[in-house]
């Protein structure tokens, strides 16, 4: 029966995430953005909470949480509300752990999942996006061509999170024609010849997140680096998980901007009245709320389809399309609610706008 009440477990996880966001992320977000650097101990601290990679089974020392995209979406919304850079950074290992959990060979699971349940933040990340205006996961430019038993990888990846410190990259590459079915994932070590890792990239937003450009020139990798071996991955489903995750982060960013606007509009007075009493401001904020609530339901529904075992390609794609538009509108309007004050970097709305605009240009930066 139709129901929107989260389970007790979900509420608990959300609470944990919300506290992290409130206590560790939000207060440090401005300085981290200005310094273009995560707070020194953030990854360690957040890692200890076990929010990322929580669905790894006990067998591998994991928390054995149910693998649920819905739960993940709820958690990621909270983390997104904390800070987008920090959220993506702390979630980056999931980009590797979950595909391996879902599709990896036993050996891959043993190695990767154990690395993702240790006390150290794992130096693992994934490389999917490419620096082109029309990035298309169904038609990657990065290729993996069979050469004997090995594969030879060529291509350029961008926005690889935690790239400066990662030892190992899960690289998505095209092994045939176009379409999701022709994409496979390969583990590439940083030290392998042909691999070049750039300096930290500079973007409009997510400044505190360390992302790099990864260039692969005739990089040879062994067959066992391919996730799932010959059977491979279901990349279409991986993309759906990823789109749900990014959308959930965007919900968090937008919600934070909305909440900030509500508070500000009720406090700020002009002509003796809170600006919330002016229809222009009140309607703008009402619209924020309406679009936010609508987008959340689309995200949850897409996630729910995934939890039901479906591919959810359409659902996750449409949810992300709506969310990407919504988060820009909401963060942009939150700047307008503050007027000139919203243009000053002391005011977080300007950062949320910079981060918010990113979503439509990201595809594959997070995973639930």
């Amino acid at each position: 029966m139709f129901d929107l009440e989260p389970s007790e477990d979900q509420k608990l996880m959300v609470q944990t995430a919300r506290e992290l966001a409130k206590n560790e992320m939000d207060p440090a977000a401005h300085d981290a953005d200005e310094a273009a650097k995560l707070p020194a101990d953030f990854l360690k601290k957040s890692w200890e909470l076990g929010l990322a990679c929580a669905a790894i089974p006990e067998k591998y020392n994991g928390a054995s949480m149910e693998r649920s995209a819905v739960t993940g979406a709820m958690i990621l919304e909270e983390l997104g509300a904390g800070d987008l850079s920090m959220a993506i950074a702390m979630l980056a290992p999931s980009l590797v752990a979950y595909p391996v959990l879902d599709y990896g060979t036993d050996l891959q699971k043993e190695i990767v999942l154990r690395a993702c349940t240790g006390s150290e933040f794992p130096k693992l990340t994934a490389a999917l996006m490419e620096p082109v205006y029309d990035f298309d996961p169904t038609a990657l430019r990065t290729t993996a061509i069979r050469s004997g038993t090995n594969y030879v990888l060529n291509g350029v990846k961008t926005l690889v999170p935690n790239g400066s410190t990662a030892d190992s990259f899960l690289v998505y590459a095209r092994v045939g024609g176009t379409g999701f079915d022709n994409v496979q994932a390969f583990f590439v070590q940083r030290t392998v010849p042909g691999v070049t890792v750039s300096e930290k990239e500079k973007n409009m937003g997510i400044n505190a997140l360390d992302t790099v450009t990864l260039t692969l020139e005739n990089v040879g990798v062994a067959p066992d680096t391919r996730v799932g071996g010959a059977k491979g991955i279901d990349f279409e489903r991986i993309m759906s998980y990823s789109r749900v995750a990014q959308s959930a982060l965007a919900l968090g960013v937008a919600r934070k901007a909305y909440e900030h606007s509500v508070t500000y509009a009720m406090e700020r007075k002009t002509w003796g009245q809170p600006i919330a009493t002016r229809q222009a401001i009140a309607f703008m904020i009402a619209d924020m709320r309406i679009e936010l609530d609508a987008a959340r339901l689309l995200v949850w529904e897409a996630a729910w389809h995934l939890d039901k075992g479906r591919k959810a390609t359409k659902e996750s794609y449409l949810a992300k399309m709506v969310v990407d538009e919504m988060v820009l509108k909401v963060t942009d309007d939150s700047v307008m609610v503050m007027g000139g004050h919203g243009f000053i970097r002391e005011n977080p709305v300007e950062r949320w706008l910079r981060n918010g605009r990113g979503f439509a240009t990201f595809d594959g930066l997070a995973m639930v």
């Binding site: 029966m1 139709f2 129901d3 929107l4 009440e5 989260p6 389970s7 979900q10 819905v70 205006y133 029309d134 990035f135 298309d136 996961p137 169904t138 038609a139 999701f180 279409e236 993309m239 509500v262 509009a265 009720m266 919330a276 009493t277 229809q279 009140a282 309607f283 904020i285 009402a286 619209d287 709320r289 309406i290 679009e291 609530d293 609508a294 987008a295 339901l297 689309l298 949850w300 529904e301 729910w304 389809h305 390609t313 359409k314 794609y317 449409l318 949810a319 399309m321 709506v322 439509a360 595809d363």
Partner: protein
């Protein structure tokens, strides 16, 4: 536990309604639009009335269903009603509004009526010939400020005497002239008391002194009769007052609040009717364009989409988003949560976005979309009412903002 799936019993009922929509509404939808008031969609009305009689309360009055029946833990009436309405409106929104059921008038009796009133005015919908009930609130000089009622009700002996003019009365003629229905009329018992003096009165069909002065010719939903009702010394029994007779000097009286509560409960059904129209247009457009070889490539890089493809996708997404918001608001009613905010959110969003969807449908079909050869132009006209009736988009935003800020009507007007 998050779940986006309905139970089997609702799915089965929904399928039955969809079948009715497909068989008894869609084939007539163009004709009832063209013929306006000349053609009663009798096939639909009679079929539907039999179904309604059989299924009893659940469909008879969506809101009543929610209040009266169901399990103790979790009622299902509101979800059921929005699911049904969405499907009927998908069939034809005008015909849905001409469905012989108590509609808003019934909802008012359901939520504020005494047991006797319920028996007298609602039981009739389970027997005999098709009947309608209507709600008469708006007056010519009145906009969205439902407090500005000038129609008066004066107690003379055992009777209320009603005088005034009401416009925008949906199913007004069917309720009071064409069937043995009734109309709920808002009138002031004390004009000095303002909002507090406004009460709702049950006026039975064919009551002397009440007449249908006019049927409006409308942009859309043309087969739904929108009547102007004139009351000239229209006398009704004293016991036909709905709610309390008290005129409290400060704040809202129970009568007015009760009537306003009806709106809270009926915004999700109105949203559902908007979604039904939007979904009809979105599906039709998809199917039409599919025949022309347009297949939305879900999943590919966003900057590789065609303009038509992207619009189609947005149409689909907006229909779904509005629908989920509507289900959410109805679900909250079912679990007994206050849903004033969510009811306005779903009404605002679906009203606005379904107009967008239908306007887009016309555009995507080009001159074919503009032609009456296809139904999309009709849905565009029908959709507009969803953005207007029971509170325009702007009114809904006011309500949403007031709830967000915790402001009164006075603080945010």
């Amino acid at each position: 536990m998050i779940n986006f799936q309905h139970g089997d019993s609702l799915n089965n009922l929904a399928a039955a309604v969809e079948q009715i929509a497909r068989d008894h509404m869609r084939p007539f939808t163009r004709a009832v639009d063209e013929k306006e008031h000349e053609l009663n969609p009798d096939s639909y009305i009679n079929t539907m009335y039999e179904v309604l009689k059989m299924t009893g309360g659940a469909m008879n009055s969506p809101v009543m269903g929610a209040k009266e029946g169901g399990e103790k833990k979790r009622r299902t009436g509101n979800i059921t009603s929005v699911v049904f309405i969405e499907k009927m409106a998908w069939g034809d929104c005008g015909m849905y509004l001409a469905t012989p059921m108590p509609l808003l008038g019934g909802a008012a009796v359901g939520s504020a009526g005494t047991p006797e009133q319920k028996q007298k005015f609602l039981a009739r919908f389970r027997e005999g010939k098709p009947k309608w009930a209507a709600m008469a609130i708006t007056e010519p000089g009145m906009g969205s400020d439902s407090g500005a009622v000038t129609t008066t009700a004066t107690l003379e002996g055992d009777e209320w005497v009603i005088n005034g003019e009401k416009i925008f009365v949906t199913a007004g003629k069917r309720a009071v002239e064409d069937s043995e229905g009734f109309v709920v009329v808002w009138a002031s018992v004390d004009r000095k008391a303002g909002r507090a003096g406004i009460k709702a009165f049950l006026v039975d069909h064919h009551t002397p002194g009440m007449k249908v002065a006019k049927l409006e010719h409308k942009h859309g939903i043309r087969c739904s009769d929108t009547a102007v009702l004139v009351f000239e010394n229209c006398r009704i029994p004293k016991e036909n007052l709905l709610g309390s007779a008290d005129v409290k000097p400060t704040g809202d009286s129970k009568g007015f609040k009760g009537a306003m509560a009806t709106f809270d409960a009926t915004r999700p059904p109105v949203a559902a009717s908007a979604v039904g129209v939007g979904r009809a247009a979105a599906e039709y457009t998809s199917e039409y364009l599919a025949k022309q070889g347009v297949a939305p490539r879900y999943g590919i890089g966003r900057n590789k989409l065609t303009a038509v493809e992207k619009d189609l996708m947005m149409m689909e997404a907006k229909v779904k988003a509005s629908w989920l918001l509507t289900l959410k608001a109805a679900w909250m009613s079912d679990i007994g949560e206050p849903n004033n905010l969510e009811a306005s959110i779903c009404k605002c969003k679906s009203g606005r976005d379904m107009v967008w969807v239908c306007q887009k449908a016309v555009e995507l079909l080009g001159s074919e979309g503009y032609s009456r050869k296809h139904l999309v132009e009709k849905w565009m006209r029908d959709s507009k009412i969803g953005d207007i009736y029971e509170g325009t988009q702007q009114i809904q935003k006011l309500v949403v903002a007031r709830r967000i800020f915790g402001y009164s009507r006075e603080q945010l007007a």
